[in-house]
Subunit: 428 residues, 4 copies
């Protein structure tokens, strides 16, 4: 995982900018205007909206601040493409983003080109002092657009899941009628002594505000599984009646299971020939050796309870990830595989990054001493620190360069449409 240590070098920043911006469009070009327009549940934003919102973010937080001559592409976009920044003003209702047939996708591409031109122009002409001042905004803008690239893919996955004809958008389907693969063997446990350890982000590289301040915590001895839970293991839970045994479930989770009559992970489909899984490559046979994904926190917690183990604390995860320097991982690449694969590896901890996000049992909360930044940008993370759980690692749809051991992703416990799995932990 290359470090994000660009510094305020204009050429490097420009190169990174163009790469990030192009990548967003690479994903979109595989899809039709219709695919990019609809909204299949309130949590899902249309692909078109993601493309425009990240562009608005550059316009609002960089161009309008740094570049007095900048002319907005269309002033009305401030209303349409502000996501949740109360300090910026009123905005289009989130559950109605899918009503926006206008502007068209072609207008959004024009909007992107307009903003890209202005950004490059500014970088070409900015003084050293200007670059120094705005490099943090640029780095935030890269990270922000990368986050939305991942959301773009999970949201499009949801859109495609609602089609009657589950055809692929990204290559495939690859109906590998594989020979029955052996279930993954029991995990190996990597033991950690704990004690007083440092947690959180330190150093000069970019990180989000929620990863700071770094601080010491006390960890009791624990062990982490060397790999995520697999489909085969989760299937064993199902076959043992896991979805019918309230004793393993959190109260809210059991209520959801009963109300929705759930009995398998969100994108699993039972066919005549066994289990299949909706993927960005179409409907594929379930790979028993790959990490289970699209389980929500309740399912992750119930599965862990059924095994007799538990979910890790986020600080345990971070400590182990740092200890084993386990930063290699697969990354989302156009043309590549956008779904977890069978786990292998030769370090002590496998697949920390690049397959599935891993639920921890840590509620998303500020670190001691955390203060949100002043102004609109302070809304980026702080106001969401309630009702969500932290996930660590990174998934098969996470962009390269985006992740690190201190990264804190977070979703509500009932979120199913993100590429979420789990890794077991236990006390020692």
């Amino acid at each position: 995982m290359p470090k994000d240590v660009i510094g305020s070098d204009a050429a490097a920043l420009k190169s990174r900018l163009l790469e990030v911006r192009r990548r967003s469009e690479d994903w979109a070009r595989a899809l039709s205007a219709e695919d990019l327009c609809v909204q299949t549940m309130p949590d899902v934003s249309p692909g078109k909206w993601h493309l425009a919102h990240v562009t608005w973010f550059w316009e609002c937080f960089l161009l309008q601040e740094a570049c007095s001559a900048y002319e907005e592409f269309d002033k009305r976009f401030n209303y349409l493409f502000n996501s949740y920044y109360e300090a910026i003003g009123a905005r289009h209702a989130r559950p109605e983003r899918g009503f926006l047939t206008r502007p068209s996708i072609d207008e959004i591409y024009a909007y992107r080109a307009h903003v890209d031109g202005a950004l490059v122009d500014w970088l070409d002409r900015a003084s050293k002092a200007e670059l120094d001042r705005f490099t943090p905004v640029l780095l935030t803008g890269f990270a922000h657009e990368e986050q939305h690239q991942e959301l773009f893919l999970t949201d499009i996955k949801h859109v495609l899941s609602k089609q009657s004809f589950p055809e692929s958008a990204f290559g495939g389907p690859r109906h590998r009628v594989s020979p029955v693969q052996p279930a993954a063997p029991n995990p190996n446990w990597v033991e950690c002594a704990g004690g007083r350890v440092r947690t959180g982000h330190e150093g000069g590289e970019f990180a989000f505000d929620n990863e700071s301040p770094a601080h010491d915590v006390l960890l009791t001895p624990f062990a982490l599984a060397d790999r995520p839970v697999t489909n085969a293991e989760f299937l064993a839970f199902i076959e043992d009646g896991g979805y019918r045994k309230p004793e393993h479930w959190l109260s809210d989770g059991w209520a959801a299971v009963c109300a929705q009559a759930r009995n398998h992970p969100y994108y699993w489909r039972r066919g005549e020939e066994g289990w299949f899984e909706h993927t960005l490559h179409g409907l594929e046979p379930l790979d028993p050796a790959a990490p289970v994904c699209h389980v929500d926190y309740y399912e992750a917690s119930a599965f862990a309870d059924w095994t007799g183990y538990r979910l890790p604390d986020e600080r345990e995860w971070e400590f182990a990830a740092k200890a084993y320097d386990a930063e290699a991982g697969r990354w989302a690449q156009p043309g590549g595989r956008l779904h977890p694969v069978s786990i292998s590896g030769d370090g002590p901890l496998h697949a920390l990054y690049g397959e599935v996000w891993e639920w921890t049992r840590s509620s998303y909360a500020p670190y001691p001493g955390f203060k949100a930044a002043a102004g609109a940008i302070g809304e980026y993370n702080g106001k969401f620190m309630c009702g969500q759980y932290v996930l660590r690692g990174g998934s098969a749809v996470s962009p390269a360069r985006h992740l690190r051991a201190t990264y804190r992703n977070f979703f509500p416990p009932d979120a199913q449409w993100q590429m979420t799995g789990l890794r077991l932990a236990r006390d020692v």
Copy 2:
């Protein structure tokens, strides 16, 4: 209003078919793939879906019955584009029609061409006996596609109303900052003696099953206003506090007004320069002399109560329309005006057709002796005879040739997105 007296003449049927089919696409070609894909409330179907559903209707009720060699374009479309025919089988959930990004609009056009080709082919080769047998299905298919042309326009109007930038799709906007127009004068009353009169459809022309059997009814003497209620008149109701006076409202209507904090018709917008109206030509200044439209049954009933008059009975309306042979009207034409215009005319009854549908106080019910047809086609009308009110006349988005004095349109009392207005009646 030209009579639909084609008979089973192959050439005439083919000509009519091609005209009807082309007209559906004429409307659609003005819109983008995105405009044609989304669904902005459960009652609205995407434009794309209308184009496909009417095509499926031809396939299901004509080609598969009449033409043994016919090959379906895509068997899966039977699931996607069946609207509500239980006898045909399971179908895609109505509120999720807007999730269907696939098939694309281009595939729908290909589907249409496939079916058109098969229909023409069949007409070219059908024997006289075949033609005689299937002419009723053809006539129903024309009427069905014409109904959906009108729904297409009212549904697209809703989609466009949800855009932040209310730009026109059909020419316009024409922000005529007109000189203040005089309110329409009080209506003239056309008195009818009533008595024992014939109601319902008779004769050989096409009509829907719900217009039959013709039968005698007794009417007490009544009078009908010579024209629909205008915007100026409805504005006077508003300005007199009509939306704050429960004494004029039906109980369910008052509950809706309070729950939704309504105080004007659905597509009215108050601007700094006065009232505007969302139209298919964009946002236009309210024309005081044009018929009020997009009022629901509750608003129509409350307005009538406020005037001291009442809504007509559907049989009164039909009797008067027949008596005055008032069949001229404006019709929806590409390039024409798709919104009511100022009323004028020189017969005793004006604007019976071509401006707004007129709410009657008649609940939609079967005529004495009515029997739904056997099989799926029997679901066309009969099963909806509950919880709806009859509207008579026809609107500025109704297709030419589609209407007649006996035509019974029907919607629930809270429907606002259809082009619905009212004409006053009173006892004599």
Copy 3:
């Protein structure tokens, strides 16, 4: 059925008043303070509320108008016990009537005694002119309290249906493990020639405003079944898969059946020994020869469609009821049976009154020339003339003296908790 021809005779009015008022309390005394307090669905009002509301009606429409010296029992009751009279002012929210633990039932009885005293006092002292003026209000007050006696019983029936231990409140249960009774034979048909007939109320006796004006209508020849549909007949519909065959159902009804997974009438319960029915006497075995009850309009309509017949028009029902002078019937009596019984009789039409209300296919609408009265009392009926169907006859929980051939009861098509059944009709 004794006619309500009291005239403005003080002694007769007082006697009637005391009888009506005592009857309300007779029903209530069988129940606990808790039974009389709770609200088990929004349509149900607590028993205590009914007792207070009818008392408020006397206070508001008679005592405060006729009796200047009258002092209200508690001014705050005007807010609590106004049902729906917008002209009177704000009132307690209907779905929260069950929150009212205060005033207690004992305070309500004291309120009743206070108002009864004032009414008797006024009757004892009223001049002839005063009596003449207020006799219509008194007659309305009697009818109003009698309507609420019936609602009291159907609402309490709903409350008792929600108890885990379905014990009787009104004597019983009488688990008559009867020998299998024969299904009722096919109905006999009573044919009517129709033609121009008079419908609606005429003459000096009391009737509600919605029964007027009397007017002529044209009826085509029809036949009415001599008796209501029985449980045995409805069971045959169920056993033939009636709840699984969309072809018999109105569209809204089929949607309700599917959404609620309904497959029998509301108060039927399937036990190991067969079908039982929740009654005001507890859970009883289903009597095959008794009229089916607690079917909603959708079920009544689907059943009729399944038989190949139809529901009657309300004017057909009235015409036949008048023709056959069929006014005898059973009436709700404390100590009596509050549930339909096996049908017998020797006139041509049986059980028109006293067993079940009979759904007609007539939407509830004003008669030609109907005008609601001025003021609050005008809200009694007129504003409900939308979205409801007319029922004719009267049920086993209807009070004696309350009914007549012209009486128009009305409920929405999905109402199940009233004692509603059906009688078949057909064209001749």
Copy 4:
């Protein structure tokens, strides 16, 4: 705060049992059968249900385990009065507890007497070994019934808040038109050095499972306010537009404020003479010097943000409470005051117990090493460790002897009907 150090002494246990059981009825005797029957929102249980549920708990977890000869009062109660123990079996739906008019309150009192008799009988006869074995169950039973005594009071408070006439049930109202009291001065700050400290329950006294295992944590230096936030302080927040400034609110909290148009704490009422508060003694003028109560987590968090300080971590609270041995407090007593009073005291930390529960910013989660007990009793706490926040301290409706520094109360962030307030904290 007397320690709960009974040990397994039969006489002491019997004395405590009788005291606890009598206290539950002391509260109930102040209320009518109607007050004790209704349910005014899904979170509220009827008073009658609390009285029966705690009795069922004794029956299910003690008598049926310890006493083979015990005969259940009514086997059906197992279905009605099981709260949430999945391992015990099916149970009455929680939102329909208010439908239960039967059994009556008198039957519930008889049920209580039956169980009390059996408990006393068992205590009188139990061997030393039996006492040793079941003393933990007895202690849990005491604590459980005391928890429900507090819920009984907060639930009844909600029921009374829905009455149109807010009369008191527990003495009062005491409309003290007090001279304007000075706002409480700024809090004094009690500084704590933090470091490695012990948290959680240790020792032989009773505590709930969620207070264990005791473990060490690292605390950074912090300060706690010496007292809870007062009404005067919260009013200043309101008057500064606190409910209109999204920058202070968590995202979910701001959504709730907007959706519900909230602008003051739940039980505040604005009258012509200023602010009043709904209390268990009726409607009383707001006491500016008393702790604010019935604020939810969102309001507590927004208020803290507005001051520039923050909510405490639960471990900070516990550490400070232990350090200052601040165990004196007011307790709920029949005849006493069931509402927070003006704060005074002479230790460094005032009013830790006996006025309001204090929201912490700690999500409710298991302590390291926590394992839920096997069987039904394991459902007591563990399955609720999701979506809730910890509150510390105790309120004016908490029972004597029930609380301690390690006690962890918990509610969802939108809970308003509990007696919840806050105390400020800050980093040092």
